[in-house]
């Protein structure tokens, strides 16, 4: 019973659950806000009513999703203080600042302008109304920057000094904090991945209708947009992912070693990358694997003869630096999460390439499986995003702030296991129920298709379409 009610374990599960759940909505919000802004810009510039219909169609899906992103986001902020009070005391002076900046610069912007956008159709002049969705989109992207800068401090602490007397980290250089090399790579990597997810959603929704040969006038341009978006975003995600792995090797070599399950330091051809490995359950012994020589050296150092430090060597170094303890994350989690992230990412670039080829010059593939794959690209691109976060956060363990504060020392000392269990169960229940409702509503909105809007009145140039009401 005591083991079940371990506050540390429960608090970690709660953080994992609520963060993964929150991040199901974040990439859709970020990606779709900008996509809706682009569609609406196309409508304003060309006057083609199809673009307005696409905007309203994806706008509806965006809104169903947006509320969930907002309310699950509050949990994230409160949770640091509730479950991780020792962490909050330790990093507040450093970590709080980007959160406050996020609130002042980003959250207010998106929360205000999204209201203007939803209810402002027909009420604001056309160009001003267009500006409101762009302001929302900028707000979502800015907020991602600040939260990733905060997260980067946990991966690679910079811009601080330790105050031994007060036992906390104190900010000495906000610029260093905001230009953390990990943040500068992780931010574009994450944003590009968000656009992969929103492109996946657009591809899925468009494919669902095109497979049924309906709404061709809106869903064909939408599919084209989604496929190109996926290709560009996929290329950028890969490029910045590579930058991020370089930063990671420099700052958190243990995470890279764990990503590849490399126990001993290897150089050159021996620094091979395994595409697939079967090993004993504890991950220490390899039974079978398919390996690409040099690839790990290339990924980690951008050279053929580079060396990659192994888990055992790093463990020995860290034990000397930080005292006795186990400094490796859970290897099978990092190993497989890393592979699923890359594998699903590559799969989506292929989907985009094949999709663009099959639909070239207005062609419409007839094979059923093509459309089935396309419809699945949304959940699978979302899955890629999630395993990516699981990799980077689980790979940071056993640290909550790398090299400064172990996760086990960060939990609230006065919150009981029962308290955390109650909240974990409550969040699991309400999140589970809302997930079912959310999925049903999104499927319903997709199936309903884009709204019918008549072309502009030839005399006044005005378009009749109803404003949103709750």
């Amino acid at each position: 019973m005591n083991e079940l009610l371990d506050p540390l374990l429960l608090a970690r599960w709660q953080f994992g659950l609520t963060t993964v759940y929150h991040f199901l909505f974040v990439p859709i919000t970020i990606g779709l806000a900008t996509s809706a802004a682009i569609f609406q810009t196309a409508w304003v510039r060309t006057g083609k009513v199809e673009y307005l219909r696409i905007t309203r169609f994806f706008g509806t899906i965006f809104l169903i999703n947006f509320a969930m992103g907002v309310v699950t986001g509050i949990v994230q902020e409160f949770q640091f203080g509730m479950n991780w009070s020792e962490y909050s005391r330790f990093v507040g002076d450093v970590f709080g600042a980007p959160l406050a900046l996020e609130g002042l610069l980003a959250f207010f912007l998106e929360a205000t302008f999204i209201g203007l956008w939803i209810f402002g159709w027909n009420r604001l002049p056309q160009k001003l109304h267009l500006a409101t969705i762009w302001a929302t989109a900028i707000g979502t992207i800015l907020s991602a920057y600040f939260i990733i800068a905060a997260n980067a401090f946990m991966q690679n602490p910079v811009g601080y000094e330790m105050n031994a007397e007060r036992g906390r980290a104190e900010l000495v250089d906000i610029w260093a904090l905001l230009t953390n090399p990990v943040a500068l790579a992780a931010f574009p990597h994450t944003i590009a991945a968000c656009f992969m997810v929103s492109s996946g959603l657009i591809i899925s929704a468009a494919a669902w209708h095109l497979a049924r040969n309906q709404h061709l006038d809106t869903m064909r341009p939408a599919l084209k947009f989604g496929l190109w978006g996926m290709l560009v975003a996929g290329a950028l995600t890969t490029f910045f992912g590579d930058q991020l792995s370089l930063a990671m090797v420099a700052t958190q070599p243990m995470k890279m070693a764990a990503a590849e399950a490399t126990y001993d330091t290897v150089c050159g051809a021996a620094a091979s990358f395994s595409l697939f490995t079967l090993g004993t359950p504890d991950g220490t012994t390899e039974l079978f694997s398919i390996r690409v020589p040099y690839l790990l050296s290339l990924l980690s150092t951008h050279s053929f003869d580079g060396c990659v430090e192994g888990i055992n060597d790093l463990q020995a170094q860290y034990a000397e630096l930080y005292g006795p303890g186990d400094y490796a994350p859970i290897i099978w989690v990092t190993y497989w999460a890393f592979r699923w992230m890359i594998g699903l990412g590559v799969l989506h670039v292929l989907i985009a390439l094949v999709g663009l080829w099959l639909t070239r010059k207005g062609r419409m593939p007839k094979q059923r499986w093509v459309w089935t794959v396309a419809v699945w690209s949304f959940p699978l691109s979302l899955a890629a995003m999630i395993v990516g976060w699981v990799f980077t956060e689980m790979g940071r363990q056993p640290w909550i702030v790398f090299s400064l504060l172990p996760t086990e020392s960060a939990v609230s000392p006065n919150v009981t296991g029962l308290d955390v269990l109650i909240s974990l169960v409550a969040f699991t229940l309400i999140y589970g129920i809302l997930a079912v409702v959310e999925v049903k509503l999104i499927v319903q909105a997709v199936r309903k298709g884009p709204p019918e809007i008549a072309p502009p009145d030839p005399e006044t140039g005005k378009v009749e379409h109803t404003a949103t009401v709750y």
Partner: protein, 334 residues
Amino acid sequence: MDLAVLWFWIVAFLFVGYFVLDGFDFGVGMSLPFLGRDDTDRRVLINTIGPVWDLNETWVIVAGAALFAAFPEWYATLFSGFYLALLLILLALIARGVSFEYRHQRPEAAWKRRFDWMIIVGSAVPALLWGVAFANIVQGVPLDADHNYTGTLFDLLNPYALLGGLTTLMLFFTHGVVFVALKTDGDIRQRARRLAARAGAITVVVAAAFLVWTGFAYGTAWFWGLAAVAALALIGSWLANGRGAERVAFALMAVTIGAAVFALFAALFPDVMPASNDPANSLTIANASSTPYTLTVMSWTALIFLPLILAYQGWTYWVFRKRVTRQTIDAAAH
């Protein structure tokens, strides 16, 4: 001026912003069973806050982040100490927020009914518990030498704190109903005025009891001054509502809530979280705050962005200044 003191008042200002703005959202949510006679009525009510509830709620996120950044010790003690109360607030805010968005997605009456209840409960629970939480902060709670809360949830439910909760519940309810009178037209507007008159009378009594108790137990000169402003504004709002001066009534409710929250911060000053067991364990502005460097960075940010934020939020309210009527809903929903 000491930057930590400045941030004490900025945090107070952010909570004032939150309670004045989301306060009427809570009130509108709680008014559904009293003013919403049919689905169109209820939609009128929800649409009075439709474009703004999200930006109003964002004030608590910013207040929380400011607390974290400017007073990490206060944030850590408060949030870990009031664990289950904050959990209930979070669950309520989740239920309320998604309901606004989901309610209108399907036409079935049973579907709407379910989300109506989530809005009502999701509004009433935070309206009550924020008052309980702030009353406990002013009253002081047991803290150990490491500033960790040593009590339980039930210690938070003492008579003084419950009176504080009842006060915010009634204040927000009246605030919301006065807002409905200002933002709607026709029959529902008249009913809102009558309800505001009755609710306002109860609110005056409850709020007076709470402020007098606070004043005698924890009051300072500044507290009494601000509490007097709050009391006069509340009575003024009630009178204005009786004369049908809706704008004045609403503005004075905002003044009431703002002055009352500032009064509680004045009673708290210079502590941020007094320890009821041993004053030596109290969290103060001095021992809970961040470094001058962090506070300087944040002060510049707030100085530049808060006026901008107030400007674009003010503009939003101006854009949506028209009253919501049954015709608005029918025309859009046809």
